[in-house]
Symmetry: C2
Subunit: 381 residues, 2 copies
Amino acid sequence: MTDVLVIGIGMIKFGRFGERPIADIGAEAALLALDDCGLTIQDMQALYCGNVYEARSMVGQRIMRELGQTGIPVINTANACASGATAFREALLGIKAGAYDIALAVGVEKMGKGMLAGGTAGDGGLAPEGLLGSLTNPSIFAHMGMEHARKYGTTLEQFAKVSVKNHHHATLNPKAMYQMETPLEMVMNAEMISYPNTKLMCSVNVDGSAAAVLCSEKKARELGLIGRALRVRGSALSSDPWTPYNQAMTDFNAVTRIAAKSAYEQAGVGPEDISLIELHDCFATAELVHYENLGICGEGEAGQLIDDNETSLGGRIPVNVSGGLLSKGHPLGATGIANIFEVATHLRGEAGSRQVEGAKFGLTHVCGRGSACAVHILEKA
Amino acid sequence: MTDVLVIGIGMIKFGRFGERPIADIGAEAALLALDDCGLTIQDMQALYCGNVYEARSMVGQRIMRELGQTGIPVINTANACASGATAFREALLGIKAGAYDIALAVGVEKMGKGMLAGGTAGDGGLAPEGLLGSLTNPSIFAHMGMEHARKYGTTLEQFAKVSVKNHHHATLNPKAMYQMETPLEMVMNAEMISYPNTKLMCSVNVDGSAAAVLCSEKKARELGLIGRALRVRGSALSSDPWTPYNQAMTDFNAVTRIAAKSAYEQAGVGPEDISLIELHDCFATAELVHYENLGICGEGEAGQLIDDNETSLGGRIPVNVSGGLLSKGHPLGATGIANIFEVATHLRGEAGSRQVEGAKFGLTHVCGRGSACAVHILEKA
């Protein structure tokens, strides 16, 4: 079975694009990824496209119309916030299966305006049959945080520091939606959305796209593209192992633990080997909880980790150096591949002023309500 | 690389299910497929779900809530009429890639009422950026037929005979929506929808679901399930090789020819080896055109083929013995796997009064506007 390498990456600056067609937004990231490795759409043997809101309407094929149609297989994947990561993983499996030597994965989303709340994709899935339909995303992740606070004494200040950190990181990332420092008082005094998350502790609702060119190792060598390539060491996807209706909200995290365990096992590394992490900080509370789910600290220690700046740029294990969903922004279908763009950029040593020095292994994590969690571990090839 | 076998199949009787939740409809086919091979959801290592209209809302995960949640990867695929076939193919590639030994593929759709026309998934995809947005599905496939008629002299009667044949076949299929003979005069005198297709020459808008359990050959042997298993000999997916905006409508067929060529090459067989075909008769005109696209007759000979009853049950190469989309019905996301259910049933020799005797190779074809075409070739394992 061949190893799969990422030989090209692309991402647009996240923003709000009004009436600009989704295919145009997706195609721009695709072209950036193709340019990044000096290839064209004619070199691609398949296109995988992750998107949520327009999933039923052939977004991948519409992107092909912008890039140039060649007759290749086009596969659209929809898995809530894990849609882009699912597209990436399916492209990887297609190459491992020998169906293609090289494939393009694109994640794209037009979010429209407003906060992440009811009326999102998750609700479309949950409302018809589940009690969770009555809980919006802000309230779910608020519960998650309060459960952590109840068990471990985590403070509002600790949750707020996540947002301070990620906003600071974003000032170093020209592709982030916002480049704006948000001091602790500013975060804590912002409009309360769902306790303990204030408005500045909720992910930013933006449009965006990201793309990656995946390739078999043999083909990458033939193309002479090993130099800047990344090796995918682990690729895992999971769903909820039980129905969440009557569970404490922290049980929601089981889905992350399943995927993380699988990805670490595939990669043959542990949390202690990871140089940087891009994880699903859809709300500030989620980031702290995921520290524990991903094993970078023990149970109940996440608050201490943020107090000690261990997950800041320059710390032991920087998390969301891109600015994360809290400041870079969260275009649902794009996020999974945007995370891969970020860790790949660091592993290549091309992250400029936000570079994590000596980065060897990067981990990405997305966790979509509904439920789908994807974890990938990449290494310099 | 392992061969992949289909060890379990399931399909519900297509119909209109009103307020019944989509997850419930999908889960029923899944349980039928699991029962068919004596396994349970606990034995499955992944679930792939094909659906169009609710693609953004985690249909696969909602089905897992009905079946029992186990934490396995769940992947939702959306590819218009090829959504179910795409789910099947991605499950197959995941097994070939070694990510799973065994996986469940489900296709499901709730169509609501009305004819296939504007406002369908295809339009959602095409309207924003393409001129085709102004053409509804009935008019596109009418154009297709008229182009064939112009070039080859195909008659309204010949197109109508497709519908007579498929309705007759459906009288032998208890899972078809309609069991009703439709004599030639009845078909030709029905309300004209888009010349030359009358109302009885348009696919039936119904809800439905179908499922398949896919398995590596090694695992199937371990489970002792080789006896009734089918081997997937070819699996191909394609998209339009050029933009259809300014092409004659028959060029739309290029997408089928690409997928068919690939599937035949993978299988190492030709059209002459195929015992039965389930193809995408979304309109009667489409079936005739696809005879030529799939190579079971020469260019312009499709009309003669139907006149000679060669594609009827008992003929040289029976097509749409299930009743096809014209009478069995066409729940978009379910159709690709329902086609596989039908050919698998014949290859097993379990098709009762509609059995194609001595069936050795079965071919399935779906072609979604937008564009995605899938062709699979199965053989008794």
